[in-house]
């Protein structure tokens, strides 16, 4: 960290651009005594021009490039792209593909939330809160590997359906994993979330009131912890979310502890959704085979999906050729970034790690 003294008792500290476990992002805070008086975020360290590159590739070719932006959340980041492309191409995917997309999407949500929990432990100085979630996350990655074929980036939900079918051995294994993990979640609640020191560091810290949350346009767990019951899965149900029942948490307290609890509850609900999908999934094809030179009709499409960090959107403009004319990605991390100065100004310096990571800002995703 680099500092310069700007006035008698003011220090400007530049934090980043490398954080332990949290990616490349820099923000500058001005500190007076123990209070932060100004915060200026400075993203762009991992900007790779993904949007420009989609204009040079046809619809199928962009998938591996786009999914690598959001490394912990790969299924959800390309799903709105696939949905918008299918709308432009005028095709409808088979129902089994939609259920499989739901299963992988919820699995991915658990994986992403566990990673978030681990790094929150690092930022609070709690080493066990780092080790346990990352150890359990590996079991879910193995589940994803059974269907997807790779551990992290499997390019699964492509335009036209999904790439692979689910093996027979997936269902019993998944049920065993969920039984194990539900017991572990009880342990997490008891040991991590009820610990008095954790409560002292997160209760009442980083409060984002409801009107500010809506006006600033935040999404995801941050919005849900600010007393807004908003989730794309219930607002604009895609795949078959209207046929499964699950809860969307929301809390009135709007502080960091509420955001932690939202993540925890969402993990439970994801397991519930996957169980129901495994009961309801029909037989059938999983893919509409598209040629790589598939043309899309001219026009615009906007696809929306609830990713782990919030609502993700893809706006695709097509001119009727095999390559999209313009792809604009609406990333939850980027939309939540504006809350960072608002929350940090006026708080203690020592609260900065807890607040920063509770917004779940993923730099690579925000920079595209």
């Amino acid at each position: 960290m680099i500092t310069q003294q700007v006035a008698e008792d003011k220090l400007t500290v530049s934090i980043g651009p490398q954080h332990p476990g949290a990616g490349h992002f820099r923000f500058t805070i001005t500190v007076e005594g123990d209070t932060i008086t100004d915060c200026v975020p400075d993203p762009g360290y991992v900007h790779r021009g993904a949007e420009k590159q989609t204009e040079y590739r046809n619809y199928l070719q962009s998938i591996p490039m786009l999914e690598r932006s959001s490394l912990t959340d790969v299924t959800n980041i390309i799903m709105p792209y696939s949905m918008a492309s299918e709308e432009l191409m005028g095709i409808e995917i088979p129902p089994r593909a939609k259920y499989l997309r739901m299963i992988m999407s919820e699995n991915q949500r658990i994986i992403s939330h566990l990673y978030w929990l681990g790094i929150q432990g690092i930022f609070l100085g709690h080493s066990t809160m780092f080790m346990w979630p990352l150890g359990d996350r590996d079991i879910f990655i193995d589940l994803g590997q059974m269907i997807g074929g790779a551990r992290i980036t499997y390019s699964y939900a492509i335009p036209g359906g999904v790439r692979n079918d689910m093996p027979e051995s997936f269902k019993p294994r998944a049920l065993k994993v969920f039984d194990y993990f539900e017991k572990r979640l009880k342990d997490y609640e008891r040991i991590f979330f009820s610990s008095p020191l954790f409560l002292k560091r997160t209760l009442g810290v980083g409060v984002l009131p409801r009107e500010d949350a809506i006006k600033l346009g935040v999404v995801g767990p941050v919005l849900r912890a600010s007393d807004v019951k908003s989730d794309v899965r219930i607002d604009e149900p895609y795949n078959f979310y209207e046929d499964v029942d699950f809860e969307v948490p929301s809390f009135k307290e709007c502080d960091t502890y509420a955001r932690c609890m939202v993540h925890l509850i969402e993990m439970r609900q994801s397991m519930r959704i996957i169980r129901q999908c495994l009961e309801k999934i029909p037989q059938g094809p999983v893919r509409v085979k598209l040629s790589p030179q598939q043309r899309a009709n001219a026009g615009e499409a906007y696809g929306r999906v609830e990713a782990s960090r919030g609502a993700m959107g893809f706006h695709i403009i097509s001119d009727g050729s095999t390559k999209p004319y313009r792809v604009k990605i609406s990333v939850p991390s980027f939309r939540n970034l504006i809350a960072l100065p608002k929350l940090l100004i006026g708080s203690h310096v020592a609260d900065m790690p807890a607040i920063y990571w509770s917004l779940d800002y993923w730099p690579v995703e925000a920079d595209r």
Binding site: P43, G44, H47, G49, E51, K52, Q53, E55, Y56, E86, E87, M89, G90, I91, E92, I93, P94, I214, K215, L216, G217, V228, S230, I234, D235, E236, V288, L290, Q294, R295, G299, E300, A301, Y302, R304, A311, G313, H315, I317, S321, K323, Y325, R326, K328, S330, F334, R335, L337, I338, D367, R368
Partner: protein, 171 residues
């Protein structure tokens, strides 16, 4: 080309029809580009855009900004800036995405900023400004956001900018 499975046609819901009627109040200031199930888009000109945005927020009750897209249309010599809105507190409007578009000529890409109406467009407009060269009048800080500070080429998302080492877009 054709495909074996085509998407079924969907009907417009009452919410969209109500919006279309409300937009009629604006008269000349806004033109409807398309009305599809769950997606409505209107176009405004740059003189009226701040007023139309206020209308969208207060009357149509779309209060949550989702995205700001900037697209370069060299054939029309225009840059189009689209604002996409979602609604949190609007009644029955949760599934709708409302788009507000505005075209500016490429030689004079100046547009009033919507930051007074929607504070959340701060970073979105900043990114559009640096990627396409659009100037948002009234925006407090249009400095480099995602691009490096020493970027000296033309704004990268213009079609005139070619990614080095790639075939031309559209080939």
């Amino acid at each position: 080309m054709s495909s074996s499975i085509t998407a079924p046609k969907q009907e417009l819901s009452p919410a969209e029809k109500a919006i279309v009627d409300s937009i009629g109040q604006l008269g000349d200031k806004a033109k409807i580009a398309y009305v599809r199930p769950k997606r409505v888009k209107i176009l405004a000109s740059r003189e009226n855009i701040v007023e139309v945005a206020g209308f969208v927020r207060d009357v149509l009750k779309f209060d949550h900004i989702a995205n700001v897209t900037g697209t370069d249309f060299p054939k029309d010599k225009a840059i189009e800036v689209d604002y996409h809105f979602e609604s949190i507190d609007g009644p029955g409007l949760r599934s709708l995405v409302f788009s507000l578009g505005c075209r500016v000529p490429t030689e004079d890409p100046v547009l009033p900023s919507l930051i007074e109406v929607f504070p959340a467009v701060n970073y979105h407009e900043r990114e559009t400004a640096e990627m396409l060269g659009v100037v948002f009048k009234g925006h407090p800080n249009l400095s480099r956001f995602l691009l490096p500070e020493d970027w000296d080429d033309i704004p990268p998302l213009l079609k005139a900018y070619r990614l080095p080492g790639r075939l031309e877009a559209g080939e």
